[in-house]
Symmetry: none
Subunit: 302 residues, 2 copies
């Protein structure tokens, strides 16, 4: 493993912000809602739906959380005005989960309530394991009262199949992804094949129940498994969609759409692009290598 790979895998303390910034240009729509709108329009034009996310997380100050709520409220007006095929994704640590759970819940409720009045939908992202229980509590509360909320479960978590079992009776809307945070072995599966297998097992459990499912993956094996399962179980097209992140494998996006499945792209924007981009970078260190080589005038790495 090169020094660079090692650096990347161990949390990137040495990756300068300008490098991450170059990486961000691939994964982030821009700093403003207008940037996001441009991207969403392009996606809608290719037949993809979008979910827009205001970047930011782990806020400790109420002003920041409230600025985020205000930004989300601006989003719904824009979506409606421009007729975009787009819902929103929110992160509870941006809305004040680290400050106070009830305060956070109330902030999330403002967004959910406004979304409901626009006939729109809110996905609550899942963050690291310290948020899991609170996120599920807030999801249950808001979904039961408004009915337009979804949550995310991560296939790398040992608890996920059990969480699916707990949620199924409420016919939940669940985005299933592998998970991207660094979690301890005690609570998270670490083996690549086991995580894949657990993703498939969770997906089957969700689809065999009455859940609506976002199949969120760039792993083509899981795309295959998802297509197999919806076919075998005869899942109606409105009960599932594939989901991918902006900037990852547009060709796969097209393949999924060309096969007649619905697909939604996660479109993050905002000034706080650093932690999101670092996670993307950890997932795909090659991107940073390309960026750095490009900067040094070395040409493509491979």
């Amino acid at each position: 493993m090169s020094v660079f790979d090692s650096m990347v895998r161990h949390g990137l303390p040495l990756v300068p912000k300008f490098v991450v910034g170059a990486v961000a240009r691939r994964y982030v729509a821009g700093e403003t809602l207008e940037d996001a709108v441009r991207t969403i329009r392009e996606l809608n034009a290719e037949g993809a739906m979008a979910t827009v996310d205001v970047l930011g997380e782990e806020v400790q100050e109420r002003e920041k959380a409230e600025a985020a709520v205000a930004e989300y409220i601006r989003i719904f007006d824009t979506i409606e005005e421009l007729g975009l095929d787009c819902n929103v994704s929110i992160k509870l640590t941006l809305l004040g989960l680290r400050i106070d759970e009830e305060y956070c819940r109330a902030n999330a409720e403002k967004i959910v309530k406004l979304a409901a009045s626009h006939g729109n939908f809110v996905r609550i992202d899942m963050e690291d394991h310290s948020c899991t229980d609170a996120t599920l509590r807030i999801y249950r509360d808001l979904q039961e009262r408004y009915g337009n909320v979804g949550v995310v479960l991560q296939a790398y978590m040992r608890r996920t199949l059990s969480d699916i079992g707990d949620l199924l009776p409420m016919n939940p809307n669940v985005r299933l992804c592998k998970g991207i945070y660094r979690e301890p072995r005690e609570i998270a599966w670490k083996d690549f094949h086991t995580i894949r297998a657990n993703f498939i097992a969770g997906l089957e459990k969700l689809l065999a129940g009455e859940a609506h499912v976002g199949i969120a993956t760039h792993d083509e094996h899981l795309v295959w498994a998802g297509m197999m399962l919806v076919d075998r179980l005869g899942v109606s097209p409105d009960r599932y969609e594939f989901q991918m992140l902006l900037g990852v494998d547009p060709q796969l996006r097209k393949i999924i759409l060309d096969h007649g499945h619905r697909l939604r792209v996660y479109v993050p924007y905002g000034r706080d692009w650093y932690p999101y981009s670092v996670r993307r970078l950890r997932e795909n260190p090659t991107v940073a290598r390309h960026v750095i080589r490009g900067m040094l005038g070395l040409g493509a790495a491979e």
Copy 2:
């Protein structure tokens, strides 16, 4: 692959006994029953059950086989006296299988009969393929007459799914493991993923039947598969247990216990630790590398 790795993989002709001895300290409780008792108490204190094994195999002299029987008889008194949560595992080549099958069966019967009088259980380990048929014959005979005996099947053996089919009507108690002996390709699967898949297929067949099952593995993917299967098939907790060897991955042991599953640890002791330790070493050559580097004062390898 280094010369050392190659040496280790090809049967360790060059590994000196003192190196294997250093390795044994990790996988063997000690040379005496008292050493084993200390280990079993520690395991019981962490919530794990144990199965104790007197090291030794391939004996050609009746005195050695009879000494082993006497040692097992001493074990049951100790288990009862100290209230240990522990059963026993026996190897038929230690009890004289290479001398004479009927002689071996009679020795095993002495142990099984005494176990039955103590309300305890005897697992007959499976050894290399030359023992498979005799081991299954002795298992059937003793189980039918005493009811407190279990056997082992190895997922690497091509015959195993068929053996499961043959045993299922008697509601057997089967430990399923991958298998550790060097078997010819004609009778054993060699591919890692195929052995895994055969393990899962065998496990499902056992659990879907009425068997009691010891899920004996350190492969976390198979731990995952076991958890999935008992959940999906609704297997009651008294019908299965996970099983691991002493000295292998205590963190995984804790994870399994923390998730509410029963777990039993295989605790070997005795003076004849060489062949057992060589098999462990072949399974995990890294251990020997660490031992040798430590001896040479080279520090940790990685």
